[in-house]
Symmetry: C2
Subunit: 411 residues, 2 copies
Amino acid sequence: MGLFRNVAIVGAGMTRFHNRIHAGKTGRDLFVEAVLEAADSVDKGFELREAEAIFIGNYSSDSFEGQGHTAALIADWLGLTPRPSIRVEDACASSGVAINMAALAVASGAYDLVIVGGFEKMTGKETEEVTEILAMAADALYEVPVGFTFPGLYAAIATAYFKRYCSSWEELAAISIKNHRNGALNEKAHFQSDIMDMARRLGERHNMTFKDELEFLRSPLNPFVAYPLRLFDCCPISDGASALIVASSDIAKRYTDTPIYIKGFGQASDTFSLHDREELTELKATRIAASQAYKMAGVSPKDIDVADVHDCFTIAEVLAVEDLGFFPRGQGGKAALEGRTSLDGERPINPDGGLKAKGHPVGATGAAMAYEMFKQLRGEAGRRQVDDAEIGLAQNVGASGATVVVQVYGR
Amino acid sequence: MGLFRNVAIVGAGMTRFHNRIHAGKTGRDLFVEAVLEAADSVDKGFELREAEAIFIGNYSSDSFEGQGHTAALIADWLGLTPRPSIRVEDACASSGVAINMAALAVASGAYDLVIVGGFEKMTGKETEEVTEILAMAADALYEVPVGFTFPGLYAAIATAYFKRYCSSWEELAAISIKNHRNGALNEKAHFQSDIMDMARRLGERHNMTFKDELEFLRSPLNPFVAYPLRLFDCCPISDGASALIVASSDIAKRYTDTPIYIKGFGQASDTFSLHDREELTELKATRIAASQAYKMAGVSPKDIDVADVHDCFTIAEVLAVEDLGFFPRGQGGKAALEGRTSLDGERPINPDGGLKAKGHPVGATGAAMAYEMFKQLRGEAGRRQVDDAEIGLAQNVGASGATVVVQVYGR
């Protein structure tokens, strides 16, 4: 059956995602920063104490910071005790799932107004350790012991995709180039440089065409991480937090004249291990979560004006735009190569730079996608604004697709 | 405002809690075992695939087993992909909070029938490591660095309580004796031995009175863990899992003629660190969560026939029975000493043996309390059955009370 009532976002905030600027802070500091910005963004004013509950997506501050039980910690640091505070974890989809939980809680009638968001403070560990901590989201019995970490798992997906569709790495490079160009327009992004900027810093010549950028990405300056994925096919390790103020549709207009409604949402699971999948070149859970979200929202893929998808690796964006029904099978990478998913293309994907350029503090990512849709659909996205964006979508993936959550947003 | 519809438990299962018998298993195995028992317990039959979503309480399988993203893992191991599966973490209150999340999700209209439960596989680590992992639920900046782990935090609470109320350790010992007597009647308990049995094994004489048991607990055979708490004031380290089948009240009777309704539930947070509390001799979050649950259920403390409370340390049971309004301040321990909280007392507390004797696989504890209330209120608790139990309560605590969740159950 359907929800008893609808839910809307009335405020959104996020820290910049970065690997160095948050060095002196802990995860709790970052989350508080994001919540304060979200509160400030509420047009008609909002006091933190109006929030009745807090939902927090976090992957593993236990492992990253030696700090568990973060939900209660954050209630305290926000000055919001004794309100209930709940941590939700579904790997890199943690705050995407937290949004759904917040929506269900408000739809149930229990709460009228809640805070939801996510954070991850990842840079306190060395890259190797971070990779190991992230690999705990894969199967500790059947994937990790044979040497898989996530670059390897997504490399396997890329290889299968290339073989199935006779496509090639250039399609992935096109996604990297596009997302870096978008990130360069986003003041919250980890990398605010396009590939040309980066190449310049590495001593390359000044004026580069797309073809030159591609050439640069093919060079040894962009080494392989896990064949066929190179450095610029992989999202960086970032610190960051994101937060939303979510209200029942009954009261949303008390806070803003332009609430952004969570028109539909879905979540699906899939086989935990990649080797158990019937098909490597799609994420079935994306298809199922999206069909739930489309149905609830009463829309179809063609209605989506702008989308943030989970490009933890460039190949993941290819699968996403196909699984979401934006492009036919085998055409997701070509669409990027042809500019169809660029900011000025027919279907802009990851206008904020995506995980690739914006960064991926894993627990913060799902709510940061919602932040972007909130900005885009209100026409507040500045230099990266997509024209006439009325309906947006966010797709947030846990691990290699064992969890996928999709939301459809609209004015 | 109130919930749009009510929610009931129609089946419940749990593994035995133990420190050795699950040695060859992982957390996923334990959870599947609990869910299968819960499914089998549904009177009119239930197929796993009828479940529309899964909610899992788990504290830190990341740290205990090197396995994150457990929600999706368990959906797979239950054969329930592509259903959404959500992990909830609020320290030792994880599955208590997961029950509230499941209730909200069903009350929202999104789902009619879900699985909720919890698990923890703790014994793969040495005791010292387990203590450190659990200590991550305290403040990593302000409590752990000065040497606090949970036995120390609760010892501080006990010391403050003794001083405030001129009470003494004998009251705590009475709780330990009572809970071990109850545990001896529970085939799922970690320790199925009363103190007399334990003393016998350690070479003490055979027939002991309560006074003898007290004498034994005062001896060096019951050493101090953190003064004034001795070994038998502390719950053991256990492996285990628990699971419930939860349905909307609209359809509950399709599954059983005697559903147990979640008549009320609440959750509250408190200052994260103990040193920030105005008062050490109460858990304010218990009072607040209980008042929410009482109000929703339309009952008062005197209506509660039986309760499971969070006796991670014996002093915690003292605070709980006072904070829940069962006994006046300063009388919680005396009530146990006078037998008023025994199985045949006026207000039986922890008939299943409590965390002390039943065990405390932390993520499983909240849902195991619900399991006990399900059995008690249906008159299926066997040798530990409380007479005429019609309304039950569960109180599940995270850390030193920064999270508390309370449910009121009834027929």
